[in-house]
Amino acid sequence: MSIDLEPILLSLKLALITTVLLLIISIPISSFLAYRSFRGKPVIETIISLPLVLPPSVLGFYLLIAFSPQNFLGEFIQNNFGLQLVFSFPGLIIGSIIYSLPFMVHPLQAGFQELPLQLREASYVLGKSRFQTLFKVLLPNIKSSLLTGIVLTFAHTLGEFGVVLMIGGNIDGETRVASIAIYDAVEALNFGVAHIYSIILIVISFAILLITYGLNKKLLNSVFRHGSN
């Protein structure tokens, strides 16, 4: 039995890129949510949390419609950026970013909120800008939240299935990620291959979580705290 490792590598690549991009996107979003109060804030927070409760098929269904070149958004992106988002790796990245958004934003937002309120002001009165304050004072003091967000996002994206199934198109080396390859193998009654992919995924996930728990005992608490929210 020859095993094609490409789906595993593709899953890791998807998880890595999604995590990096989500980290960049979530820092401003979560600090904004942590420090500002404005009308409509609960609506924004609800939208960000929706992927926690919605079945991935709902998200996948609407992404399929939105990304379709027949519809406005898909057509606009295709014409202006030459990028087709259905059946493509960039499409999976965007889908994963939306799908994993709460897994990055929630820990970071909680991290910012747990810092003393005056910590920011203590930096501002020293003449430091918001940007300097964010990078020199705030982020270095929420390292465990950052780690939590990174690990949860990576692991969650690694295990993503429903959204990819809906918008992926099962293309080798492009959208055929590990979870899809496992599903395929089970469908084809090829249980041997399904076992091998599954075990590789279990081992990778276990290793990531073990290392993280080892590094950071706080993680366990924060996972449970956010999980119960």
């Binding site: 990304f67 379709s68 259905v86 059946f87 198109g169 099962n170 293309i171 395929d184 089970v186 469908e187």
Partner: protein, 228 residues
């Protein structure tokens, strides 16, 4: 009574269900999914009485595992069509696929779906597989191929004739039937499952007979299948 039905046969099965329920006043429940998923479920003890597959391979594998009361028997021969709901010219048959305005072709996964195997073989026979293979995206079943087409995510789709003849889709777009000579006939097999032994054996046998009766054959013909 529960009948496990491959996606492509769901519309025909629904007609048979109505006929059967009228005649025997027994409720029939259809479980529609891909043949592969249904097979996995049956092998792990799903309480279904009859299995209408999209091919012969899956029912054979169920029978080999001793989960069936009968040997698989072909109830219909599926026909492959090229279908589009978009403003795309299909007059040149399969050669139309080379047209640059077609960017995405939805095909059922050949690893698991018989219509996918038939599609790839037809493209190979027509000598255009290499020219169009980069346009192909795979749906996990005929149902997902239909979704890709109906949402406009794919420009054209290879699906079952029964799908484009179904009441829901009839008005949607246009199709061409792929010549029988380009692929091996899609033999769709049926079996009575061991589970029926407990409660529903009589009903299951009655439905099985209906499947192969003149009335049953007429239903499958109506939905675009060939029958022996």
């Amino acid at each position: 009574m529960r009948i496990a039905v491959a996606s492509n046969a769901q519309f025909a099965a629904d007609s048979l269900k109505k006929i059967f329920e009228e005649k025997y006043s027994t409720d029939v429940e259809l479980i529609v999914s891909s043949s592969g998923k249904l097979t996995s479920q049956i092998k792990h003890g799903a309480p279904y009485d009859i299995f209408l597959s999209a091919d012969m391979k899956y029912p054979k594998s169920v029978a080999t595992d001793g989960m069936a009361l009968t040997e698989p028997k072909v109830y219909a021969l599926g026909k492959l069509v090229l279908w589009t709901t978009q403003d795309i010219d299909l007059k040149n048959g399969l050669a139309s696929l080379k047209n640059p305005s077609i960017k995405t072709i939805a095909v059922a996964n050949p690893r698991t779906a018989p219509y996918g195997i038939a599609t790839i073989s037809a493209l190979n026979q027509a000598g255009i597989y290499d020219a169009v293979k980069n346009k192909i995206v795979y749906g996990e079943s005929i149902s997902q191929v239909n979704q890709y087409q109906l949402t406009g995510a794919a420009n054209v789709a290879f699906t079952a004739l029964s799908v484009v003849k179904s009441p829901d889709i009839k008005q949607n777009g246009k199709f061409i039937i792929i010549a029988d000579s380009l692929y091996r006939p899609i033999q769709q097999g049926a079996i009575i499952l061991k589970h029926s032994n407990e409660y529903n054996l009589e009903n299951a046998e009655a439905f099985y007979q209906l499947l192969f009766s003149e009335k049953g054959k007429a239903v499958f013909r109506h939905f675009g299948y060939n029958v022996n």
